[in-house]
Assembly symmetry: C2
Homo-oligomer: 547 residues x 2
């Protein structure tokens, strides 16, 4: 059905119908056909969409059933799960036809979207003057040891095959600190986009994999307070606005202030970090539960925890800084006042950078990692997912999409003379951004950039096609053709529609003998004869005016 | 010295000198100073270059001494080599400050060059309509097993931490075949740029690492003979020409023809592959030695080897095809004739693609990997390294920079129903290209893209700087400033020169009170006052006209 309709759209057949005598009849018939075509195309698109969804579900199901070897912490002797192959030929072992647990392939559509988002992110990094570096995918195991607390058990170790003991990188921050410390670098503003590896329990349905991209921007160097820190916040705001994932807020806090609060509330110094990790759960857990954990599991006194609760539930702006600066219990505590001074500066700079309405000073923000020493931040999308989906006060967060902070004591661990280089940075949660945009992308994303398809109207034209192609490539145009000697015109035009290639050059003996080719605009199906001598210029002109 | 001279170049000081009355004296003095500056700058550049070379040598030495744990095949219990740290603080373990053996970090300069080259390569792939995909860095070990022959021992295994047995990918071809087979893909033209891992003995001095980029372009699908194959050759030629690494030749041969020759020479069928791997050494080893290996190690008869020798030393063009097609011994052998028929077509298509002068039908080309089933090719740079550095006949090759071929039987191993999808592809040896271009790049490569630096002429202007920066970023310009509250003007201008930032906006109270800023062109050191209202437009105009 569709095939015949498409063929009617093709030039040579069309011309036969459109003789002047039958004009009106033909016109109305064509209109009806076009409407029918459009209808069929829409329905096909819907079906295609449904099929894609089903395939995705099937993939998830497969991961959940075949791959689920529990927590991944089972005995070393557990055999790799293996699906029986559908056909077993002699001499051909039955391979498990899957990617490793918690990983996936990315096909052309997923990659097209990812590259588009990463390009946007890099553009922002570049706008702020960042360079880029790269480090190996694995490190000496000892470089990673002791940097990730409890999560160290999630590190992928390489097999000891004689030589060094290696492990896959767990994040990009520790390799960066090693790079800076080992190389005696004193200042650098760099971004690094690369995959990291965590033997976590994958949650495929929530888009959490064991292999995933991190996308980090860091500023290392001895500078004046909050100038690099504020720029990191600005970078996050620019990226989230440009990628277009809806309304968001960047929560800000300060490790020194948190420490000061713990001190003021009577928490012993050796329990600051564990108290911190309890507070960190406040984004997902109600205070009552966090309170119980601090008292019952972490052994803090009821009174101390009660006082902590009065602080960590606060959030606001400059007025909150003033209130805390005047607070009786905090006033005598030096680190608290230093933290507040930093926060005051940071908010002032955010004001100048016109992101004050995007940030929220939030005392419940703690961040999991141990190595932060100053400002910490985390960007979360607000409920509704769209613009104007709720004020900061009634925020229903749909998850963190960026996070970071200052870490002034990490580089020294990797410097031969233990020299410190203060750092501040942010990691963009691009995998979250990919998921959100992927779910939203209803229309088909283009997966190649072909500008023109060289088609032949009938048999025996493949040499001519190669010649035309060569001319197009030499002229720098992006061009393709069928790798079949005598492809059907219909199949060639369908390929153009499927891949959204804007133009086709259709070759035919009749036209070639008159020194012309047919130039077809795929979207409108309009065709026009153009001289062989000038069709490249004509094409270039059209492509430029469309861009 | 240099500092004072540079300061003289800075705007505000300059104006004091250039009063009309002392014009001539000042002009000649400035000229002398400029010449002196230039001299100092050149000498600094030389020193810097020397230091870079020394550092590189030191790095190599370190790799050769500390890391050299023999072939990497030593006993599993060997401890990781560990350098004593220069200072050992209590509570801080002594880390080995290095990247794993055979790997390295890539700093901003190396990365800038790599990105430039990869962009050029991708542009060619895209011009030919390729999409891109990505696969995990590790695969189930069994996916890789039995694909690489003897080299399988170079595969990096992951530690068995419970769950699946995994290994790092060794190339991109097997993961691609798995992707196509497992996903029931019937046709795809894709490129894949990613790192692969081989526990080889690294040759750091020759730029051979254990972690390195591969850059593959493959066409999968059931098509007519040589149409996709010829396009792969064309892609290689375009890339090498555009990257600009000098003169090259693409050697072509055919596995079926080689098999036919072996058959014709009386080699038993079960020794075709081992004979093939001997022939493969002909690019580095003289025939006499290869001959001896075939007779003494592989057990082929003197007579058979003698006859092989008469074939595999041949190379040429269409005339060679005709000669072989007429050859008495080959004429009766079906596979040989099929191979020749393919070669005839391939050369014809290469002619149309205007790369006939770049290719050489070379019977000594065999390629190491087992999975090739048809055309094979390998691009080598010709001696001299420059254009016109010798004809194909007197070629002194400086090594392979691309290679590939047809592999029609690999995908089926990964398809549940063992369905084959014929493939042909090429892998660009980008690491070789990087090395060649790196060695050649005398001048400093820009590592960031900053268009304008916001500088302050004196103290107390940091808030104003932030405001101007924010305006520039909002306008989409790439802008930076110093993260110090009160940086010295000299230091700011030196930063611009070092990073080759084209413009600086210099703020000063005097100028700001008059509603202007100074716009300085870094290369010429020319300064001009521009109104605060219009300096962004002025900047954009200048950047556009320079582009």
């Amino acid at each position: 059905m569709l095939a015949r309709q498409l063929l009617l759209g093709a030039g040579s057949s069309l011309r036969r119908f459109s003789s002047a005598s039958r004009g009106a009849v033909v016109a109305s018939t064509m209109q009806a056909i076009r409407a029918g075509e459009e209808d069929v195309r829409q329905r096909l698109a819907q079906i295609n969409e449904e099929v894609q969804k089903l395939l995705a579900l099937k993939e998830q199901l497969k991961q959940l059933t075949v791959d689920d070897d529990g927590s991944g912490e089972t005995a070393a002797a557990a055999p790799a799960p293996s699906k029986p192959a559908a056909a077993s030929e002699p001499g051909n072992r039955n391979l498990s036809l899957k990617t490793p647990k918690g990983t996936r392939d990315y096909g052309p559509e997923a990659m097209a979207l990812r590259q588009r988002v990463l390009d946007q992110v890099v553009r922002v990094f570049r706008r702020h003057g960042a360079e880029t570096i790269d480090t190996p995918v694995f490190e000496l195991k000892e470089v990673l040891t002791g940097k990730y607390g409890e999560d160290s058990k999630l590190i992928y170790d390489l097999k000891d095959q004689g030589g060094e003991i290696l492990a896959l990188r767990y994040d990009l921050t520790v390799p960066f600190a090693r790079y800076v410390g080992m190389g005696n670098v004193f200042n650098i503003k760099r971004y690094h986009i690369a995959k990291v590896y965590r033997r976590d329990n994958p949650q495929i349905t929530r888009g959490r994999y064991r292999e995933f991209y991190q996308c980090d921007f860091d500023i290392a160097g001895t500078y004046d307070p909050m100038l690099p820190d504020a720029e990191c916040v600005k970078v996050v705001c620019e990226i989230l606005a440009e990628v277009g994932v809806g309304d968001f807020v960047v929560k800000l806090n300060h490790r020194k202030l948190l420490d000061g609060i713990f001190e003021a509330c009577g928490v012993p110094a050796d329990k600051f970090r564990t108290a911190c990790s309890s507070v960190d759960k406040l984004d997902k857990t109600p205070w009552e539960e966090v309170r119980r954990e601090m008292v019952e599991e972490k052994g803090l006194s009821e009174e101390a925890v009660g006082r902590i609760g009065q602080f960590v539930t606060l959030h606001g702006g400059t007025e909150l800084i003033e209130r805390l600066a005047a607070d009786e219990t905090l006033r005598g505590i030096k680190v608290a006042m230093e933290g507040l001074e930093d926060m005051r500066l940071l908010l002032q700079y955010c004001e100048i950078f016109q992101v004050a309405d995007r940030v929220s000073f939030d005392l419940s923000l703690a961040r999991g990692l141990d190595y932060y020493t100053g400002v910490i931040y985390e960007a979360v999308l607000l409920g509704g997912g769209g613009a104007g989906g709720g004020s900061a006060d009634e925020e229903i967060t749909v998850g963190s999409v960026a996070g970071g902070g200052r870490y002034d004591n990490l580089v020294g661990m990797f410097n031969p003379k233990r020299k410190q280089v203060p750092c501040v940075g942010v990691s963009i949660g691009v995998e979250r951004l990919f998921s959100i945009l992927e779910a939203r992308a209803g229309g088909k994303t283009r997966t190649n950039e072909t500008e023109v398809y060289v088609a032949s109207a009938h048999k025996g034209l493949h040499l001519k096609r190669l010649e035309i192609l060569n001319k197009l490539w030499s002229a720098g145009l992006k061009a393709e053709h069928s790798y079949k000697l005598n492809p059907k015109l219909l199949a060639q035009l369908q390929h153009c529609e499927e891949y959204q290639i804007p133009y086709a050059v259709i070759l035919g003996d009749g036209e070639l003998s008159r020194g012309v080719v047919k130039l077809r605009e795929i979207a409108t199906r309009k065709e026009e004869e153009v001289a062989l001598d000038t069709f490249i210029e004509e094409l270039r002109r059209r492509l430029l005016s469309a861009a």
